[in-house]
């Protein structure tokens, strides 16, 4: 009991949880595109939902509670449901497995290697920082920043969404004969 207490008080639970959530995120993200069991689009969409939930877990570990909740509420709860609607209504067939071309495989491995080495170099040059401050009035601080310092990007993103919606409505309207 004493040793467990010491372990846990040293932040070991948070470390374990971080590894769990990170592994889950990566695994689900890979399964979205490279699922060996079933190639149906609905399965990919469900794994994307799991990815989003694990990412929200990662947000929780960074003490960003508002962001975690909003991530689930908006992303997993609304956006992915609408994705699923579209996928189900379109009734896409399962994709046939394509033959693996050698050139594609080589190019893929080369690009992954390059990106990986960039990551490793940039991570190696980072200073490890202390754990971030526990943000108590975090929602308030976020809201304040969003509406004073970053108002312009915020409004531009809203206008972007509005334009996308109008575009969709216009594209999908039937022509009036």
């Amino acid at each position: 009991m004493e040793q467990i207490n010491n372990l846990v008080n040293g932040g070991a639970v948070e470390d374990v949880l971080f590894y769990v959530f990170a592994a889950l995120t990566l695994l689900c993200a890979i399964l979205v595109v490279a699922n060996p069991f079933s190639r149906s689009p609905v399965t990919s969409a469900m794994f994307l939902v799991l990815t989003i939930i694990s990412m929200s877990g990662l947000f929780l570990l960074l003490h960003a509670f508002f962001l975690a909740a909003v991530q689930i509420l908006v992303y997993a709860g609304a956006v992915m449901v609408l994705f699923l609607f579209v996928i189900m209504l379109l009734d896409l067939k399962e994709e046939a497995r394509r033959k693996i071309k050698f050139f594609g495989l080589a190019a893929g491995l080369v690009s992954v290697g390059i990106v990986f080495s960039i990551f490793v170099k940039s991570l190696a040059s980072l200073q490890p920082e202390a754990a971030g401050p526990a943000l108590e009035g975090e929602t308030y601080a976020l809201g304040k920043l969003l509406f004073t310092q970053y108002t312009l990007p915020f409004e531009i993103v809203s206008v972007l969404l509005l334009v996308a919606m109008i575009g969709v409505i216009l594209l999908s309207k039937r022509k009036l004969e």
């Binding site: 009991m1 846990v8 508002f66 689930i72 509420l73 609607f85």
Partner: protein
């Protein structure tokens, strides 16, 4: 790592889940009895275990009240044959009821059902973003219906599932927006703080009545209850998204619907009607003694049961909305109303300060 906290949390979770499931089982009975009384009938009044005839006064009284009917229902769900139709996608077929039930049970984790009992706070998780958590979990509940409709490899459940989930996400928006004036007035997302504010200033339903109306109507739509229950109406779509389910899986869907009702009632009570407080008898302060703590829990339960009765009552008051009328109401009436409500509340608060 506080072993005390963990153990007490586990105990609280066990008790809350048990109580919520009990309320759900008996609310099925309450629905049948109350709907019978409204319709000049009697409702279930015969089920009794064999020894009840011999209990002197209470036995026949309880039997006529139908108290033992949920036991029979539970037994039926356990022993009924549980088949999987051919051609369904097995994983989603098995997953959908679980995905329906879990968010319904998770929502009650943040609701303060009392002030405290001794040193223990009567809430399982006193989150700082309590309301946001609730809405997030409610929006995850849509997946159960979407998957249920998709998995049953048949037309009617599919339509029912699509319609039902479209309805749910439309009314989620109005529900979320209608709570914003409450947050503007109180200034905090924490449910315990909201109740604390209400015990000082009076119930929030007096400060934001339009909010309450929108929230109530939106929760009828969220839980797929009449007058918004077109997706599962028998005359329209056979059984809607749960046509192809039998026995335990159907019981889980049923459980999910009634647990959603319980959670919505609890949210309404907490947000608008003061939670566990009553404005007299010193019940609006956190409890000093065990007796007061227990009394506050009973106050909360009484208010929540009142709202459950309202849910059941409204079912037999109104005819069903047609689907296009329903979506019309959600997007073109309640959403602008909720937005205007936010604006009015913001202006009122600005003028007051």
């Amino acid at each position: 790592m506080d072993w005390n906290f963990i153990i007490f949390s586990l105990v609280k979770i066990a008790i809350v889940v048990g109580v919520v499931q009990g309320i759900v089982a008996y609310s099925v009975l309450a629905e049948r009895k109350i709907s019978a009384w409204i319709q000049d009938r009697v409702g279930p009044n015969r089920t009794a275990p064999p020894f009840m005839k011999f209990v002197p006064v209470l036995g026949p009284f309880l039997t006529r009240l139908g108290i033992f009917q949920p036991l029979a229902d539970g037994l039926k769900f356990l022993v009924k044959e549980d088949f999987t139709p051919a051609g369904v996608k097995k994983i989603y077929f098995w997953l959908a009821p679980a995905v329906s039930v879990i968010p319904a049970m998770l929502t009650v984790a943040v609701i303060p059902f009392g002030s405290n009992l001794g040193a223990q706070k009567m809430v399982i998780a006193d989150l700082n973003v309590g309301i946001l958590y609730t809405f997030g979990i409610v929006s995850m509940g849509v997946y159960g219906i979407v998957l249920a409709g998709y998995a049953a490899n048949s037309k009617y459940p599919f339509f029912g599932g699509i319609r039902s989930s479209a309805q749910m996400i439309s009314y989620e928006i109005s529900m979320g927006m209608s709570v914003i004036p409450v947050l503007l007035i109180v200034g905090n997302l924490n449910l315990g703080q909201i109740i604390g504010w209400q015990s000082g200033h009076g119930w929030l339903v007096a400060y934001a009545p339009l909010s309450f109306i929108i929230f109530m109507v939106a929760s009828f739509a969220e839980t797929n209850r009449t007058p918004f229950d077109l997706p599962e109406a028998e005359t329209e779509l056979v059984g809607g998204y749960h046509t192809e389910y039998s026995s335990m899986k159907f019981a889980l869907f049923f459980l999910a619907e009634y647990s959603n009702m319980v959670a919505s009632s609890a949210m309404m009570v907490t947000l608008f009607f003061g939670g566990w407080t009553l404005p007299f008898w010193g019940l609006d302060q956190p409890a000093q003694s065990l007796a007061m703590g227990v009394l506050q829990i009973f106050v909360f339960l009484a208010k929540m049961l009142f709202f459950m009765v309202v849910f059941i009552w409204v079912r037999w008051m109104f005819p069903r909305f047609r689907y296009d009328q329903l979506m019309d109401l959600g997007w073109r009436t309640f959403l602008p109303l909720a937005l205007v409500n936010i604006l009015i509340t913001a202006v009122w608060l600005w003028l007051r300060s």
